[in-house]
Every structure is written in structure tokens, then in C-alpha cells.
């Protein structure tokens, strides 16, 4: 009885949810129209509605970046361009606009190269994304389990079966380990953007602490630790300092 009730509720909710999604995505078109007409605040309002509804796309983030850029919010523009690049890293429009925004960014820090193991992990993650690795790993894992069950329950065995079980086990273990390790310890640390015009990196998480370096709107930083209302960030040249969380926007 209960099962039937749940199924009925789901069947009734499905069209309603679809209608809500359609309404949200129509707001994207409204926002794009407003953006082209120069009503940037209106455009942002529409785009933010879509974003809150749980949808994302490179187009949504790019248009949000463009609206922010027109409103002279350089930090937000770079933030949404980076979000767009995460979804579509090869799009020339995104890359071009990122270069233009980067020219306006005031800070010119050298970039500290990553240790080779981080670079290797990042390369591996780029080549074998987490979900792909997990999917293939799970298939191998299930294959190994099926072969194992066939042997245990049905007594199916032989050299071919043994090799299949070994390959399935090793490949599944490697891929699943890679997927979970990359999920728990991402090769790229959390990246944030400085949204305040000027922000001070401080030695401690306090406004009274000594200043380490001054950074400007639009600088992308890596977050290394956090405290209430503060983040410990690392700027491209490796300098670390605490920044109020209000000055940052996540990518």
C-alpha cells in the first residue's frame, strides 16, 4: 500500500518538476535578452534564478560573467568565467574573455610551479575524470564479483576465468581507488576569487594581525584552510595569508 502511494506521488510530481525546470530555463532566455539590451541587473537577476534552481551550463556562467563585467564587477566576472571554463574548457569565447579580464586584474604575481606528483595527479584526473574512472571501475568490480560467484557457487573455473577475475579485480581496485581518492583529496585545491577591490592577506585570522601582502579584485587564490569567517589562502607565488571570507567568492 505504502509502495503504491509513493509511486503515485512520484508520478504526479514528475510533470510538476518538469514544469518548474522549464520555467527556470526560460528565465535564462529572458536574462540573455536583458543582457543584450543592456539591462545588466535584470539579466543577472534572471540568471541567478536559473542558478538557484539547480541547473548550470557554460552559457549561463558565461553570460553571468559578461553581465558582471559590464557592471564593473571584475571579481565576479572572473569567477563566473572560471566556472564556465570548468564546464567547457576549450571554448574560445570563454578563453578570450578570461584573457581580457585578466588584463584588468591589477596583481602580477609569479606562478609557483606545482610539485611533480601534484601535476601528475592533475594530469591523471584530467585524462581519466572521476566519474569515468568510477564507472569503469565499478563495471570491473562487478565483473570480478560475478566471476567469483560463478566459481564459488557454480564451481566455474579455469585459467581464463582466473585471468579474468585477476584483471577485473586489479583494474577495478585501481580505478575505484583513483576515483575516491580524487574525490576526497582533489588534485586541485578549492579555488576562490578575490571579490573586494583590495584585500589584505594577514598573518592570522584577525583584522589586527600584521599584513602579509595586498591583493586586488579578480585574483584567483587556493584555499588551504579555514576558520570561522576566514580562509587561509595561497596566492600564485606561494605566499599564504588569511583573508576574510566576505572578500572571496568560490569557483
Amino acid at each position: 500500500m505504502m509502495r503504491s502511494a509513493i509511486i503515485i506521488v512520484m508520478l504526479l510530481a514528475a510533470p510538476l518538476s518538469r514544469a518548474q525546470d522549464a520555467a527556470s530555463l526560460q528565465r535564462f532566455d529572458e536574462g540573455t535578452t536583458a543582457l543584450i539590451e543592456g539591462r545588466f541587473q535584470d539579466a543577472l537577476g534572471a540568471f541567478e534564478t536559473v542558478e538557484r534552481s539547480g541547473w548550470e551550463s557554460d552559457a549561463l556562467y558565461y553570460n553571468m560573467a559578461l553581465a558582471h563585467y559590464r557592471l564593473d564587477n571584475l571579481g565576479q566576472a572572473i569567477r563566473f568565467l572560471e566556472k564556465a571554463r570548468q564546464l567547457n574548457e576549450d571554448d574560445p569565447r570563454i578563453l578570450h574573455s578570461l584573457a581580457i579580464a585578466g588584463q584588468r586584474q591589477a596583481d602580477r604575481f609569479s606562478t609557483l610551479p606545482d610539485p611533480f606528483w601534484l601535476s601528475a595527479r592533475a594530469w591523471l584526473t584530467d585524462q581519466v575524470p572521476i566519474r569515468t574512472a568510477f564507472l569503469i571501475g565499478i563495471l570491473c568490480w562487478f565483473g570480478f564479483a560475478a566471476a567469483w560467484l560463478a566459481n564459488v557457487v557454480g564451481g566455474v573455473n579455469g585459467p581464463g576465468w582466473q585471468r579474468g577475475r585477476s584483471v577485473g579485480f586489479v583494474l577495478g581496485l585501481v580505478l575505484i581507488t583513483h576515483a575516491f581518492a580524487s574525490s576526497i583529496w582533489p588534485p586541485h585545491p578549492d579555488r576562490y576569487v578575490i571579490l573586494a577591490d583590495v584585500s589584505q592577506l594577514r598573518e592570522q585570522a584577525s583584522l589586527e594581525a600584521a599584513e602579509v601582502v595586498e591583493v586586488h579584485e579578480g585574483l584567483i587564490v587556493d584555499v588551504r584552510a579555514s576558520a570561522p569567517a576566514w580562509y587561509l589562502v595561497e596566492i600564485p607565488n606561494g605566499t599564504r595569508g588569511w583573508v576574510p571570507s566576505a572578500d572571496l567568492g568560490d569557483i
Binding site: I36, R104, F144, L149
Partner: protein, 617 residues
């Protein structure tokens, strides 16, 4: 450098043309033309009344003197008028000549002079009288027989007098000796020279330098009119040779080089014979070199805590911001004029930082500087003209523009901030305005156009893999299956390998099966079969649990076996009663009522778990 007599006459005439000019402040001072004289020389004592034309001055009495004899009681008078920087000044003077009576220290006493209704007192002056042989050939006494000579006689050869440091010098006068970094300091170089000295062919010898300073020349009079001043009791004419505004570019002790000039000077000859003076003129100019002292300025660094918008300006400023329009079309230009006026180093001043909305193209400003060098300080204005071109339509706010400078007088930072103003841009901006594009079609200096058309959407849920429940389910399901299969395999193996264990595992299921069959037989009316199944359930359970062949056991053997397994006597008694009941039921089923029949089922159902519990303490 020129002789001043002609100019004095000219200015005197100008002064007569403006008799109504009244000078408010009167200053009286006394001076002598030399503080060291020979025994055969005379000294001229002068009382100068600055700020008066002599009309309201009572003729003073000559002061008494020790060691000097007054040569005449009626004073000589002189009057001068000068206009400096548009301001006219007058002075009036009385002079007496004294002659020494002996070597030593002579003294001209104080005297009183009445100007209008007010009395002024002069200070006494000391004069050193030395032997005439110790004095240079200077200002020889007038030859009383000179008038008897023919005017066509050649002049007697006389040595040219040499000016010394007290006759002619340059003094550097800075407005201050300590300044903030980049604060304006004006240094005025004044030439002091005794009356009657004439200069010609003057020129700067070395390039004047001020390392560590930004410097700007200020205007000085091209035809300066000497001003009379008294230094150490001596009366000098002064003119300003040079005036410069210097700005320390760093903190520390900074030095301005001396100002050096070369010139030819002519000392007063002292003769009233025009012909003699005319013939002697050429030989009496002698070359001289003059230099001021160095000027040391202590530059202090600017205090900490400068606002972010501070870009180094020091002085006194004001800023104005003016757009030429606030409504325009897309692509039309807007000129934003930012003007900073005031006193300070305008030449090196940077433009205030602008924060123009990104919808505008902002071009580098056209900068023009207007400096006023004629005042006592360098001042002027600097204008930055920005051209803004909107790329797109909309209403934009030009945010406030802030200009911050350090006020050296107040010792703190000040700022001037413009008001924000809206700019309304009309027209259509369906495409970027850039006329040039990159090779891939992107605008050269702007974002790419907005994304339109088909959009590929996806859920923005950002939960990581290890936080997804289904990932763990997928991961653990094969493990659980393999674990289950493993234990099932072991179970099956033990069932085969360990019959006693297998019978024990089957005891309960079999007893439940027999009891269930017994109940079905009872409901079917088969009383005998019912009691047989109950007995089979109980004895079967005992046989399976103890792994014995229960069918071959007599009741005493069964009781002994249970006693051997530590089964309690009451439970064994219950077993005997139950088996007796089953025997009666099989052989005399008619003696049971329907309720009594079910008692056997209930007894068996409770006996089996009780026995199992005692066998597994």
C-alpha cells in the same frame, strides 16, 4: 646687473606721479657706509625712514659721536621709490659725514627721529678706526686743489679699489630648512652690494644643481630694482638673482649647490670730477667671482597611514570633475575633465585613479599643465581629459573620483572627492563596437558576445563522489554478494562434512514441520496420526539434537540419555508425561476431548525450546 642711478631717477619720477599713494608701515634704521675706516677717511651715517616720503618727518639732530667729528650739521637727504611685484615702496633718508679723530673704536650714538606723531630710536653703531696705511686705496679724500687743475689734465693714476666680501655677496634664503618629502621649498638667491658698486657682464659660472630635488624656476624681475637693506649696520642694495622651487624627492639630508656668478665690479671712486671719472672708468672695473653658501634641507618621509588613493601629491590642492555630457549614444564619446589646482609639484603629479564601468572604453588622458611661476610659490593647475566611449546602452554611474594629497602645513592627508553622476547611454549595442577583431573573430579588447542558442544543461549539484550514497552502494554490493556466497559455501560444506552438526541444524526445522503436520491431521480428524506426529516431532528433535537413533531407544534409555546430558528431572518428567499422553492418544483416541488433544501440541511446542535451552546452557 646694472647701475641703478638712472632707474632710481625714473622710479622717483614715477613716485611723484603717484603722490596719493600712502604707505602704512614705517620702519626706521641707521647705517654707516663702512664699519672700518682709516684715519684719513670719513664715514657716512644715514638714517633711513622706509615707508615715508619725508613730508611728515621732523629733521633729526645728528647723533653724538665718540672718536668722530661731525663734518656738517645740515644733513644730506635722499628719497627713493620702488615698485616690486606691483607694490610701491618709498624711503627717505638723512646723512651726515663724520671724520675720525684718532685710531681706535669710535661710536656713533643713538638718536631719535619723529615721523608723524611717533618717535623712533636708532641703535648706536661702532666704527673701527685704523691707520690709513692699513686701508686699501679706497675712497681717498677729496683733493682740495683739484678744482684748480685744468679739466684737460690727465687724471692721476690711482689703484683700482677691490671689493671685499662685505661689499658684495650672494645669500641663499630658503623658505624652510626642514620639509616633508615632495614639499615645496622656495630658495631665493639675493645679491647684496654696497651703494655705488656697479656690476657688468654678470653670468652664472656653473650649472646650478640640486641633486635629490625636483626643481622649478620661479620668475624674477628681469630689470630688478634694488631694495635697500641694512646688514650689520651697513647699508646694502639687494636684488633677487634667482628664485627656485625645489621638491625633495627622497628623505634625508639633501644639499643644494651654491649659486656662482662671475662679473666685473666697479667700486665707488669718490671723485666728483666727471672727467676724471670718465677717464678712470675702464680701469676701475675689476673681475670678481661670487658664490652663495650651500643650502641643506632636511627632508622627512611622509607619515604612515596614507589613504589608498594617495599617489604622492604634497601641497595644497583642490579638484574638480566635469563631464561634457551625461546623455549620449552608444559609440559617442564623453569627455571627462579632471582638474587639480593648487600649490605643489604639479609637473610630477599622477592622475587620480578612475574606476569607470567596464561598459566604457577609457583612453589615456590628455594631460595639460599650467604653472604660475610669478608668485612667491609655484602654483598652477593640471588637467586630465579622459575620453570615454560606451560600448553598450544602459544607465551607468560614474563613481566618485578621489584625489588625496598630503598637506604639509596641517601635517596630515587630505582628500577631495567628486560626486558620482549617472550617464545615460541610448542606442543599440547588438554587437561590440570594436572595429578590429582577432583572427578567431573575437573583439580585440572586450569580452566575446553573449552565449545564445542551444544550451547544454546539467545539474549543478556539486556533491563529491565520496559523498554520494549510491557510489557506496555500488561499491559494497559485490562485496556483500561475495561475502554471502562465501558463507553459504562454508555452510554447505559443513553440512556435508559434519553430520552431527547438520542434524542439530535440522532439529528445529524438522520438529516444526512435524508439529505443523500434526495440527493439520488434528484438524482433519485423524487423532491417531496427530499424536504420532507430535511424538515424532519430540523424539525427532531429541534424536537430531543428540545425534542418536531415537527410534531404537526405550523410555528408560531415553531418560538416562537425557540425564547424562544434564537435563533436569522436571523436564524429563514432562517428557515422560508427554510421551505417555501420545501413547494414550494413539491407542485410545476416543478418551480425549478436542481441548485435551491440543494440550499435547502445546506441551510439545513448549517442551522443545525448553529442552534446547538446557542442552545449550
Amino acid at each position: 646687473m646694472r647701475g641703478t642711478g638712472g632707474l632710481q631717477v625714473l622710479i622717483f619720477v614715477l613716485g611723484l606721479l603717484a603722490p596719493g599713494t600712502v604707505l602704512a608701515q614705517v620702519d626706521v634704521h641707521a647705517s654707516v657706509d663702512a664699519t672700518t675706516i682709516g684715519t684719513e677717511e670719513s664715514v657716512s651715517f644715514t638714517i633711513t625712514i622706509d615707508g615715508s616720503d619725508g613730508s611728515n618727518v621732523q629733521v633729526p639732530q645728528p647723533p653724538e659721536a665718540d672718536g668722530l667729528t661731525l663734518l656738517q650739521t645740515i644733513p644730506r637727504t635722499q628719497q627713493s621709490v620702488s615698485i616690486v611685484n606691483g607694490q610701491m615702496s618709498r624711503s627717505f633718508g638723512y646723512s651726515w659725514s663724520y671724520r675720525p679723530t684718532a685710531e681706535g673704536t669710535a661710536r656713533i650714538g643713538a638718536t631719535t627721529i619723529t615721523v608723524g606723531n611717533r618717535e623712533y630710536h636708532t641703535q648706536p653703531i661702532q666704527v673701527q678706526v685704523v691707520a690709513q696705511s692699513q686701508r686699501p686705496a679706497r675712497s681717498p679724500r677729496v683733493d682740495p686743489f683739484q678744482a684748480l687743475r685744468s679739466p684737460f689734465d690727465p687724471p692721476a693714476a690711482e689703484p683700482a679699489p677691490e671689493p671685499d666680501e662685505s661689499d658684495l655677496f650672494i645669500r641663499a634664503v630658503p623658505t624652510q630648512r626642514t620639509a616633508w618629502q615632495n614639499e615645496q621649498v622656495v630658495i631665493e638667491y639675493r645679491l647684496f652690494f654696497r651703494e655705488g658698486i656697479q656690476l657688468r657682464q654678470s653670468r652664472l659660472t656653473d650649472s646650478w644643481d640640486a641633486e635629490g630635488f625636483w626643481r622649478e624656476e620661479l620668475d624674477v624681475e628681469t630689470r630688478p630694482i634694488p631694495r635697500v637693506t641694512v646688514e650689520n649696520g651697513l647699508r646694502y642694495n639687494t636684488i633677487v638673482l634667482k628664485k627656485a622651487a625645489v621638491f625633495p624627492t627622497r628623505a634625508g639630508e639633501l644639499t643644494v649647490d651654491p649659486l656662482k656668478i662671475e662679473s666685473e665690479a666697479m667700486m665707488p671712486f669718490g671723485s666728483r670730477d666727471p672727467f676724471r671719472s670718465l677717464f678712470a672708468m675702464q680701469s676701475r672695473f675689476s673681475p670678481i667671482e661670487l658664490a652663495s653658501e650651500k643650502v641643506t634641507i632636511t627632508s622627512r618621509p611622509l607619515p604612515q597611514g596614507a589613504p589608498d588613493a594617495f599617489n604622492g601629491a604634497v601641497g595644497s590642492y583642490a579638484m574638480t570633475v566635469n563631464p561634457d555630457k551625461t546623455t549620449l549614444e552608444v559609440g559617442e564619446s564623453l569627455q571627462l575633465t579632471v582638474t587639480v589646482t593648487g600649490r605643489g609639484n604639479l609637473a610630477t603629479m599622477d592622475a587620480p585613479s578612475l574606476s569607470i564601468p567596464a561598459a566604457f572604453d577609457v583612453y589615456d588622458p590628455d594631460v595639460s599643465t599650467l604653472l604660475n611661476r610669478s608668485g612667491t610659490r609655484l602654483s598652477g593647475s593640471k588637467t586630465f581629459r579622459y575620453i570615454l566611449i560606451p560600448r553598450t546602452n544602459g544607465t551607468f554611474e560614474i563613481p566618485p573620483i578621489e584625489f588625496v594629497w598630503f598637506d604639509p602645513d596641517a601635517g596630515r592627508y587630505r582628500s577631495s572627492m567628486s560626486e558620482p553622476f549617472p550617464v545615460v547611454v541610448t542606442g543599440t549595442a547588438t554587437s561590440p563596437l570594436s572595429v578590429t577583431a582577432t583572427t578567431n573573430g573575437m573583439p580585440v579588447d572586450d569580452f566575446a558576445p553573449a552565449f545564445t542558442g542551444d544550451v547544454s544543461w546539467q545539474s549543478s549539484s556539486s556533491l563529491l563522489l565520496h559523498t554520494r550514497w549510491w557510489a557506496w552502494i555500488l561499491l559494497l554490493t559485490p562485496l556483500a554478494a561475495m561475502g554471502g556466497a562465501h558463507f553459504w559455501r562454508r555452510y554447505q560444506d559443513r553440512l556435508v562434512r559434519d553430520p552431527r552438526w547438520a542434524r542439530g541444524r535440522r532439529a528445529h526445522p524438522l520438529s516444526r514441520k512435524h508439529l505443523k503436520q500434526a495440527m493439520e491431521l488434528l484438524q482433519g480428524g485423524d487423532t491417531k496420526g496427530y499424536f504420532e506426529e507430535v511424538e515424532r516431532a519430540v523424539l525427532g528433535f531429541i534424536g537430531n539434537r543428540l545425534d542418536v537413533a531415537e527410534k531404537g531407544l526405550t523410555r528408560p534409555q531415553l531418560d538416562a540419555l537425557l540425564a547424562q546430558r544434564d537435563v533436569s528431572a522436571p523436564l524429563r518428567s514432562r517428557l515422560r508425561s508427554l510421551l505417555d499422553l501420545c501413547d494414550r492418544g494413539r491407542f485410545a483416541p476416543a478418551s480425549f476431548s478436542p481441548e485435551n488433544k491440543e494440550d499435547a501440541f502445546d506441551d510439545a511446542s513448549s517442551f522443545i525450546p525448553d529442552l534446547d535451552e538446557e542442552l545449550n546452557p
